[in-house]
Amino acid sequence: MSMLQLHQAKISAPVEIARPIELRGVGKEYKTPAGSFVALRGIDLDVQPGEFVAVIGKSGSGKSTLLNLLAGIDRPTAGEVIVNGAPIHKFSEDQVAVWRGRNIGVVFQFFQLLPTLTVQENLLLAMDFCGAIPSNRREGRASELLELVGVADQADKLPSALSGGQQQRAAIARALSNDPPVLVADEPTGNLDTANAKSVLELFQQFSQSGKTVLMVTHEREISQYVTRSIRLADGQIV
């Protein structure tokens, strides 16, 4: 059985909605003791279902800020952020959290698995929080997802017992727990060796091919073979 088939069995294609990601005139300004700092200005962006978009740019160009706005982790100071049809810039912190659980899977550079839960429990916690998956199906789904990313044999270990590559795969599995249509990843390969980085990129590619929308901030150079589109940011603007 190919990897793709397996993944198609576990991950449903998203219901057709207008557009997974829609940014209109988005700006972000930070107030710091040293004065205000503009991280993003006038960003307009549309992403279609099934796209795998790479966001590239130098350090400080606003890549991570853009991703944070999409995931509802941060809010814009100007413009609209509409993800899966939801105007999340209008949501309260709590509404955003609930919405995020079902709609967006987040993958971090430093994996961010909860250290006192086993790999499988990390997935279960995400499902417990959202309640999108019926409770009798959660354990089975966790096993299947871990199988999908290739760390099923690590399910009962604490994250600290896993290698970086294994932790990132587990974190990706966790991001898929509630079957969100959009996946965002902040330099997911930044802490991985070449081989592990490659397999993570392959996973994302497969997800996008199965209909998920993937948006990834990255420093990797050789990504053209995986992504469907690259957006370059410089000084807070798309160039």
């Binding site: 003791p33 944070n68 995931a71 982790i73 941060d74 912190e93 709590d94 959290a97 609930v98 995020r100 659980g101 079902r102 987040v106 971090f108 961010q112 909860l114 250290p115 006192t116 839960l117 429990e121 279960l124 916690l125 995400a126 417990d128 929080f129 959202c130 966790r174 991001a175 727990s177 509630n178």
Partner: protein
């Protein structure tokens, strides 16, 4: 087993397990808080209830009227009066009981009409035979030790103006209405009228004890009702010489117990407050580690309620565990303290059950207080945005810039010390909590030490003022020349002074009388007594006229007394008016007034009479003083001088010091507990401060700081908080 739990609970349990040391500290803090609160609440519940039970079982007389030969017919007439509820007749003789060869202790002999029908001021059989028959005596259980006696032995008992007679000690009784014998340092005995006759006393009963129908009267109202009764009795041919009215419904030990409980309350509340502060600190610390994880959980879809749920669950587990440790200990300690206090105050604990509202309060506090204490850090932590959480290292965003103080410090101190100083003040709220804890802990300790120190220095001053070793009081005034010659004839006596003394009452403006108290009158040129520790006014002087000084025990009993005001005394039946010029402090002395012997004799028209001898031994060591006191007893007995009572000051002091020791040990223990909580507070703050900065320490290392210099920075920070 863990597998069955929801994943959030697994996280709670594993996080606690991962932070065993800190969780243990939180549990300890909660346990200490519950212990502090529970100790107070539980012992209070038991003591107040049992003291009331004990006191009410005695059916205390509302008033005692001193008159002449009471008979059953007259008692029945009194009982028939509409305002009178119950009556009983008694007689009290103050005698002496032999406790060794030429060793005597004062004994209060209660003469009982019918041991089988006690109606007022009751007591109950404790051990041995009951009742006492002719030639037999019962002692109060607490007095057995004072009298150095065992049930079954024969005691020499002497009443004034009679020769000693042997009485068989057949049993003991418990009389919780009396002040504890060990505190008074005299004994209580119970005998029949026939036995009193055997001792050479007048076997008539002269005390009329009554209770009134209206139980709601205050002391003044009882006194005026008793005065009405006196007027009526005098029309019936029963002159009343004196009326004693105790505070109604108030156990004679209520004040002492209030003191014991107050000490407890203070430290219980301090322990509770400090532990609450500590719990806040600890939970903040636990959460400080969790901030990033809170961010992650929110990023994967947890709402604020789910996040707070996890941490409230954690706090509830801690609270429950703290409660499981603290509550049983609080119950044990509360019962132990109640037992200790009841033994001290000579009453019986019939039931040490703790009422459920008290237990419920402790459970509620144990669960709720940590939850409340943790609410601020939990709510603050759960409201933090994902982005803040993911970048939080515990450094405030609103950094205040460099103050002029630290600029000054930079000039005079080296850079690492300036770092310590700034680190100290980085989290101001936490710093304040820790400083508060340390300050309150330290203050508690200092207060405890001060109370102990001032108590013992008061005792020192009091005994330093009394420069004699033995004080002997005679049943009647004797010519002072004769008393002094007799004493000087005894080997080992270095110096003697004869003093005036009496039992007196104060005549109040409305013609009623106060309870009895003691009068002591040293000569104006005495060398054996100097000024007692003065609270107000002045001490006695030469050619003082009709002035007197009272001790604070008298002022406590008669708070209307004013410095400079008049006070009318009835001394040996004669009324004289005096001016109160000073108040002195005497630890655990009965109410007493002091005047000069010259003033007393002038007012009374006595010439060269005295009824008290104070004696200095040579040498003044304990053994010689004991020998001299025995020789004096033998000398006075041989020359027919009737001794009313005699006390060695060293014995008296020991009783007081034993009592103080108990209190000060207790105070010190409690303050150590409080200090311990303060120390835990400092430890926790330091550990949080360091934990939040592991990254910063890494940076310090990266720029070349050795372990030693990092340690210096941290220790300096601890020292800055501590100072």
């Amino acid at each position: 087993m863990l597998k069955k739990l929801p994943s959030a609970w697994r996280k709670v349990l594993r996080d606690l397990w991962l932070n065993k040391a800190r969780a243990f500290l939180v549990i300890l803090s909660i346990a200490i808080g519950i212990f502090g609160l529970g100790l107070v609440a539980n012992s209070y519940a038991i003591l107040v209830r049992e003291m009331d039970v004990n006191y009410l079982r005695t059916n205390p007389a509302a008033a005692t009227l001193y008159t002449t030969d009471l008979d059953d017919d007259f008692l029945q007439q009194v009982k028939n009066l509409p305002q009178v509820d119950e009556v009983e007749s008694r007689r009290l003789i103050i005698g002496r009981v032999q406790t060794g060869e030429n060793e005597w202790k004062t004994i209060w002999l209660f003469v009982i009409e019918d041991f089988g029908n006690l109606r007022l001021d009751r007591f109950s059989p404790e051990a041995g035979q009951y009742p006492a028959k002719t030639g037999e005596i019962l002692l109060e259980r607490d007095a057995l030790k004072v009298a150095n006696a065992e049930i079954g032995q024969t005691l020499g008992v002497k009443i004034p103006n009679a020769t000693p007679a042997p009485l068989r000690l057949v049993g003991s009784v418990h009389a919780p209405g009396l002040a504890p014998a060990w505190m008074e340092n005299f004994a209580y005995g119970f005998i029949t009228r026939e036995t009193l006759a055997l001792l050479g006393g007048d076997p008539t009963l002269n005390e009329l004890k009554v209770t009134f129908v209206d139980k709601s009267l205050n002391q003044t109202a009882v006194r005026s009702t008793a005065t009405d009764l006196r007027i009526w009795m005098e029309t019936q041919g029963y002159p009343v010489s004196r009326i004693e009215v105790p505070k109604p419904g108030k156990h004679p030990h209520a004040t002492q117990m209030a003191t014991l409980l107050f000490l407890l309350e203070v430290f219980g509340v301090i322990a509770l407050l400090l532990s609450a502060v500590l719990v806040v600190n600890m939970i903040t610390a636990l959460l400080a580690q969790q901030i990033r994880q809170i961010g992650v959980m929110k990023a994967i879809g947890a709402n604020a309620r789910q996040v707070t749920g996890i941490y409230y669950g954690m706090v509830l587990i801690l609270g429950l565990t703290g409660l499981l440790v603290g509550l049983p200990l609080a119950i044990l300690a509360g019962r132990a303290y109640a037992a200790f206090a009841s033994k001290l105050l000579n009453f019986q604990i019939f039931s040490d059950a703790i009422p459920w509202p008290y237990l419920a309060l402790q459970v509620l506090v144990g669960l709720l207080a940590p939850v409340l204490a943790a609410s601020y850090p939990i709510l603050r932590g759960s409201r933090i945005s994902v982005r803040e959480a993911m970048s939080d290292y515990g450094i405030s965003q609103k950094s205040a810039g460099v103050s002029s103080f630290t600029r000054l410090m930079r000039k005079i101190a080296n850079r690492p010390f300036v770092l310590s100083l700034r680190n100290t003040f980085r989290q101001r709220g936490r710093l304040l909590l820790t400083l508060g804890t340390l300050a309150v802990g330290g203050a508690g300790f200092i207060v405890a030490m001060n109370v102990s120190a001032s108590a013992s220095s008061t005792v020192d001053a009091e005994f330093a003022a009394q420069k004699y070793d033995i004080q002997t009081v005679f049943s009647f005034p004797y010519p002072e020349q004769e008393l002094e010659q007799q004493a000087k004839a005894v080997a080992g006596v270095a110096r003697v002074e004869s003093w005036g003394s009496a039992q007196v009452v104060r005549v109040l403006d409305n013609g009623t009388e106060s309870n009895k108290f003691r009068l002591l009158a040293p000569p104006e040129r005495t060398v054996l007594m100097t000024t007692l520790p003065l609270l107000e006014g002045r001490w006695l002087a030469v050619d003082d006229g009709n002035v007197l000084v009272a001790n604070h025990a008298l002022l406590a009993a008669q708070p209307d007394l004013k410095i400079g005001g008049p006070i009318t005394l009835r001394i040996a039946g004669k009324e004289t008016t005096w001016k109160l010029v000073g108040v002195v402090q005497e630890m655990m002395f009965p109410p007493t007034v002091y005047m000069t012997k010259e003033s007393l004799n002038a007012a009374m028209g006595w010439d060269g009479l005295a009824s008290t001898l104070v004696v200095v031994a040579n040498p003044r060591d304990a053994e010689t003083v004991v020998q001299v006191s025995r020789r004096l007893e033998s000398q006075f007995a041989g020359s027919g001088l009737d001794v009313y009572g005699s006390v060695r000051m060293a014995d008296y002091r020991k009783v007081i010091e034993d009592h103080l020791l108990v209190l000060s040990t207790f105070l010190v223990l409690m303050s150590v507990l409080v200090l311990l909580v303060g120390g835990l507070g400092l430890a926790s703050t330091m550990s949080i401060n360091i934990l939040e900065r592991t990254r910063e320490i890494g940076v310090l290392r990266a720029i070349g700081a050795s372990s030693g210099s990092i340690l210096k920075i941290i220790v300096a920070e601890g020292a800055i908080i501590g100072t």
